[in-house]
């Protein structure tokens, strides 16, 4: 009789634990799901964090996201066929090198810092002031070689006026010295830039509005 009561007590406790686990499980399912970072639109583009809309590059390109501060906001990368470092990256960067809010001065400074740490002796092969996505901009094309590492790189950079600040789009293709640059990744970069839309005001635009409202 006592033995039977022990079994019932154990079964009862198991029932209570089961009920608790069930409740905890229910709590876990109630938590709201985070919306996905990338949402396709019916226009053949994607929306990213409801902040930007752009054309996603084709299969084979991997997305790079800024999750904890850093040098760029978002971008894409593709390891291509060939010896290291045969790859291309392109990105949208809200904080390009330099601090001047004057496009020409910013471009001058940018050219002294870009690819500097890679050991590439980068030269400017094109510099042109033209509107990009309806905004004042400077296009830079830069390239160079690192004979010690036996690498070369070629880049296209858009420095664009956005309100009181300057943002950038950058595409860099890496090849071994004996490799050949390819145009296709730059075409995907062009499609990314030309279709890029800002869907909401950024932090600085919002702050400046708030400062004006506060009379500052």
């Amino acid at each position: 009789m006592q033995r039977n009561m022990g079994i019932w007590r154990i079964l009862g406790m198991m029932g209570v634990i089961g009920a608790l686990l069930g409740l905890l499980g229910a709590c876990a399912t109630v938590e709201p799901k985070k919306p996905p970072a990338v949402v396709p639109t019916d226009r053949g583009t994607v929306m990213y964090l409801e902040k930007y809309e752009f054309k996603y590059p084709p299969e084979g390109w991997r997305m790079m996201r800024n999750v904890e501060g850093g040098d760029f906001e978002l971008g894409f990368m593709k390891i291509e066929k060939g010896d290291f470092p045969t790859q291309t990256t392109f990105m949208y960067d809200e904080q390009p090198y330099g601090s001047s809010r004057d496009l020409e001065k910013r471009a001058d400074y940018y050219c002294t810092k870009f690819l500097f740490n890679s050991g590439i002796e980068a030269k400017v092969t094109k510099r042109e002031k033209v509107p990009v996505i309806g905004r004042e901009a400077i296009i830079l094309e830069m390239g160079g070689e690192n004979p010690v590492q036996k690498e070369k790189a070629k880049s296209t950079i858009y420095l664009i006026k956005k309100g009181n600040r300057i943002v950038s789009f950058v595409c860099t293709q890496w090849r071994p010295l004996t490799g050949t640059f390819s145009q296709e990744p730059f075409d995907h970069f062009e499609a990314f830039v030309q279709g890029f839309k800002f869907l909401k005001k950024d932090f600085y635009e919002q702050l400046e509005e708030e400062l004006t409202q506060a009379g500052l």
Partner: protein, 113 residues
Amino acid sequence: MEAHNRDLYLYKRLNAQVLGVSMDDPVTNKHFAKSLDLQFPLISNVLPWMGMKYGAYSPTPPFRPDGTSNWFGRRTVIIDKNSIVRYIKDGSPENQEILMFLLKLEKEFRGKK
């Protein structure tokens, strides 16, 4: 430093002054400021009394090869108009957080006037 330089027009609107402090000598600081085109003053504090006062100076390792403890940590300090330290954070400065904090301080200051 470059990020602070980029935000100077906003600091100005927020009635804030940026000061950089380093243990380097004035000539080194001058070259550093020129290389980044810094538009705010850098203080050369070779004997690190400022670092000690604001807790950025480490009296523990890493030491210099001669055994002296001569090392500055990276620390952001915001001092209000009444000379009270209101914000301390180690590591790379978080500019957006700093700007929002300054806006809060400025609103607070204006509210008391």
